[in-house]
Symmetry: C2
Subunit: 211 residues, 2 copies
């Protein structure tokens, strides 16, 4: 292996890395976070334990990056389907706030209903509920950066006069993001595109009659 | 013990029952749902395993009733403090929807911040995320009946012309209930009375400017 030229080694690394991510996500979805081990991930990925420890310091680190990679794959797929700009770290801004929010939330519904995403995400979320340190790490590194994209989009809408200037965007986004999260996490009711469209309409226009 | 008259036996039963609830809640908060056993609950409550099996068929049943009892205690305390009507199975209706929702959500914040409630509730919620059967049972028996109180209050507000008639109350309630649930469960940000007041204002009046 050491005789191979760099490009091949790099491709091989990339392949190992992806195999490790896949193994980590599959394993945590099957046995839960507490029973997932670096040894188990290595065995399933067909690599040595040391290969994992060369790149990551713990199972939490492997899983964190595996989820970040899953998100990037989804963003890449959306880009290839022509649905988003190459710069994927922003929500669409067509000037129509309701349409943009509905578009992104519909994509989120699709992701939440994807079995590849469901089991590992549930395992991590469940652990985060009872394991404060892990929960805070995953919120800080995975969830909050996604929520900040909504903050940015709502701020742009405020600049355009489409959202009341006194509204706090970090709270406002929860009116449509949190109901979807709770339905998915706690299975309180089904999720669908129609449902998230309704959330956006209610959040933007309020429940009380307009004069 | 069999010679004692019925009232004493009833009081003793009540005492055992409460000891079993307390033991079940403490244990699940400490070791999590999977490691909680009927034997462990019995040992901690100082009763025989058969005493538990006389009243309940499984640890899930014990925990379900323990949580229902915790909710009844909170309602009873609120009633004794003069804050609610004796009929506790309805939200207050003073005719001011915003004030009534803020009142109930502030009380919910206080309950969520109560350590007696926090650890066992997290343990159950975490298990429900990954254990679909248990999750659905607890949602059906514990969470959904509470959410229906909001449905009733929003329907009354619709009858009074305070909520748009085309709004679905079962979805509308999620605009203020789910953000609080997500902040508490996933620790995405702090919870407070000011926060839930803001949620109610945003949900009722919407994010976009009124003409």
């Amino acid at each position: 292996m050491v005789d191979k030229p760099a490009p091949d080694a790099s491709r091989r690394s990339e392949k190992s890395r992806r195999a490790i991510y896949d193994a980590a996500l599959a394993l945590v979805g099957e046995v839960g976070y507490p029973k997932t081990t670096v040894e188990g991930i290595a065995a399933r990925a067909g690599v040595g334990k040391q290969t994992i420890y060369r790149w990551w310091s713990s199972k939490a680190d492997v899983l964190l990056e595996a989820f970040l990679d899953l998100g990037e794959q989804a963003a890449q797929a959306a880009h290839e389907a022509g649905r988003t700009a190459p710069e994927t770290y922003a929500l669409p801004d067509t000037g129509d706030l309701a349409a943009d929010l509905k578009f992104v939330l519909r994509a989120t519904v699709d992701e939440l209903l994807d079995p590849r995403f469901d089991a590992p995400s549930r395992a991590l979320a469940a652990e985060g509920v009872v394991n404060e340190q892990l929960g805070r790490e995953f919120v800080t590194k995975l969830l909050e950066p996604q929520l900040q994209l909504y903050v940015d989009r709502l701020r742009a809408a405020q600049d355009a006069g489409h959202v009341r200037p006194e509204v706090d965007p970090r709270i406002a986004l929860e009116l449509f993001v949190s109901p979807l999260a709770q339905r998915w996490l706690q299975r309180t009711a089904p999720i669908s595109h129609e449902y998230t469209d309704t959330l956006v309409d209610y959040a933007l226009h309020g429940l009380v009659p307009r004069p």
